[in-house]
Amino acid sequence: MDTALLGNGLLGLQPRVIWAIMRLTLRETSRRKLLLALLGLTIVVIGVTLFGIYKLTTITGPNEQPLTPLELKTVVSQILILIMFMFSFVLALSAVFVAAPMISGDVESGISLAILTRPLSRADVVLGKWLGLVALVSTYIAGTVAIELIGVKLITDYQPPSPVFTILFLIAETVVLMTLALLISTRLSGMTGGVIALGAYGISWLGGIAGAVGAAFQNSTITHIGTTTQLLLPTDGLWRGAVYSMEPAAIITIARAAGAAGRAASANPFLELNPPPLTYLLWCAGWLVAMLALTVYSFHRREI
């Protein structure tokens, strides 16, 4: 049967309709009090972490002296990476919870019946929802990370080397996972899609560790496993980009000087000695485009 049956081809995109669906998606998150919940949670997290960092400035070393500025910055930089890791994990969970039922929920409830019989293509619906989620995620991450980093700067005078890249990598990591959840949402229920997306996120994370271990010990098989997982689902690769953007140059220098031991240390997800190559970033962009196209195609072919 002709694929044009369910609409005028795959990409008869209509910006006005996409804009309407995007606003609808944002309004849904607002009306369902998701924004309120995120805001409340963020205030608590930022408050607690900044208080903890403030307490760091008051602790003393073995000789009863306060930490030197270098010691403080080193400790704060590592704690900041831990905080961001926790934050990225919460972001991953949130993105999956929000995106996994985004299409399947509408189909199951019957809401999509009235919408999909309007003069629009399913690509319009997918892109509208995706853009709405991207706008939400980007605004939230940029705002929250900026407040956290400004707070740290005011308290300790420390600022990660590339805060803008930290924000961009965190956004990219979350958008990648959210896109996967949206793709699954075109076929499976929110519950199943959420489990699959989170499982894949965990595997990518483990794959990243395995890859770094393989690189440290020059085991090509294990290295390839890590590379493959980072290519299949780039969440861990992008997280490592965020870590690198937060790593002070001194720590990178020390770790590199340590040779194999330093490389082994970077097997943990809180240390990264190299920025992601440009080719990898291009791969991630291509991955996103391909996943979106697959999402559109999958929804386009789905019978309601």
Binding site: M1, A4, L5, L6, G7, N8, G12, Q14, R16, V17, A20, L24, R27, E28, R31, R32, S109, G110, I111, L113, A114, I115, L116, T117, R118, P119, L120, S121, E303, I304
Partner: protein, 346 residues
């Protein structure tokens, strides 16, 4: 029904007009059209051998029918007969396994044709976190109606379905019946040329059902084609020009209500003093039989009742009671579902 409110905003749609502007006419003159498509262009709905199979289940088998523009067409059948599947195929929500169909002259799934179609799904659900007016506004936007018409369209839809005083209430707080009314309002936005109503009164009380009948009559008066999916026979009987009865995925009878019921009329009389010659004389009105003290004449319509009585009296009979019998659609429906396929279309 605020007809006068309709004059602003939406384009006028004169009663009885079949010259539905826009989409269809463009296709009628396309030299590349097949013969079927050309035939389809003049009707609101035309299907040829439309079938749908889900795994081993034949949800719809070889549906071939034509619905003229401006007609209220009833699609009748028990639950699970294939009615909703048909509507989903016609609206491009699902793909047929085989066959072809045209809606408003355009092949299935044509995006621009959907500007002229209203749809109330059987499983009606709208965003619970939106207000009723916001749902309608969303659909005005998705239907790409001119922005300056939205306010009027929303007000008209709300007043037509009796929800004007609930415009600012969240849909989540609506009863099922109110949500169905809202769905009907959504289907009416933009003066559609064709409206698909899938069990439109399933959640409504008697007042709501009467309102829906009025809305359908109003749509018909405006020249809108209505495709009414229902298992409620009285509803169909009250408003439909023609019906198709579907069961187990197949249409088992189609035609006007008169077609379906014409051969099912009769008259029965309680008489005395009628001899064999008298009974023989009455047989010219139809097949005569006698049971339980009643004389039945099958096939005799109400118009010949005076003649039957006059004939009986002239033959010396004393007439105590005369009952014209008109089989209801329900009787016919039950009979059809229990029997073999019957072709009643003229």
């Amino acid at each position: 029904m605020p007809d006068e409110a309709r004059s602003a905003g939406s384009p006028p749609f004169p009663a009885g007009s079949v010259a539905v502007a826009g989409v269809p006419s463009r296709r009628v003159h396309d030299p590349g059209l097949t013969e079927e498509a050309a035939a389809a262009a003049s009707s609101a709905l035309h299907t040829v051998g439309l079938s749908k199979r889900y795994g081993d289940v034949e949800a719809l088998v070889d549906l071939s029918m034509t619905v003229p523009r401006g007609e209220v067409f009833g699609f009748l059948g028990p639950n699970g007969a294939g009615k909703t599947t048909s509507v989903k195929l016609l609206l491009g929500l699902a793909r047929p396994t085989s066959g072809q169909a045209w809606v408003l002259g355009a092949p299935l799934g044509d995006q621009s044709t959907r500007r002229h179609i209203g749809y109330l799904p059987e499983l009606f659900r709208y965003q619970g976190w939106l207000q009723a007016a916001e749902v309608l506004k969303l659909h005005c936007e998705l239907a790409q109606l001119p922005r300056h018409t939205w306010k009027h369209e929303i007000e008209y839809a709300l007043s037509t379905v009796g929800l004007s005083d609930r415009a600012d209430d969240r849909v989540a707080n609506f009863s099922k019946g109110m949500q169905q009314r809202l769905g009907l309002g959504v289907a009416l936005l933009g003066s559609p040329h064709m409206v698909f109503l899938d069990e439109p009164t399933s959640a409504l009380d008697p007042v709501g059902r009467r309102d829906v009948r009025e809305i359908i009559r109003h749509l018909k008066a405006r020249g809108t084609t209505v495709f009414l999916n229902s298992h409620l026979l009285t509803e169909v009987e009250a408003v439909c020009d023609r019906v198709a009865i579907v069961d187990h995925g197949s249409v088992i009878a189609t035609g006007t209500l008169d077609d379906l019921l014409a051969s099912r009329v009769g008259v029965r009389l309680r008489v005395s003093g009628l001899d064999a010659a008298g009974i023989q004389a009455l047989s010219r009105f139809g097949a005569v039989s006698e049971a339980d003290g009643w004389l039945s004449i099958e096939g005799a319509g109400p118009e010949v009742v005076p003649d039957i009585v006059a004939e009986a009296v002239s033959r010396g009979a004393r007439v105590y009671a005369v009952e014209p019998r008109h089989e209801s659609l329900e009787d016919r429906f039950m009979e059809l579902l229990g029997g073999d396929a019957v072709e009643l279309e003229a």
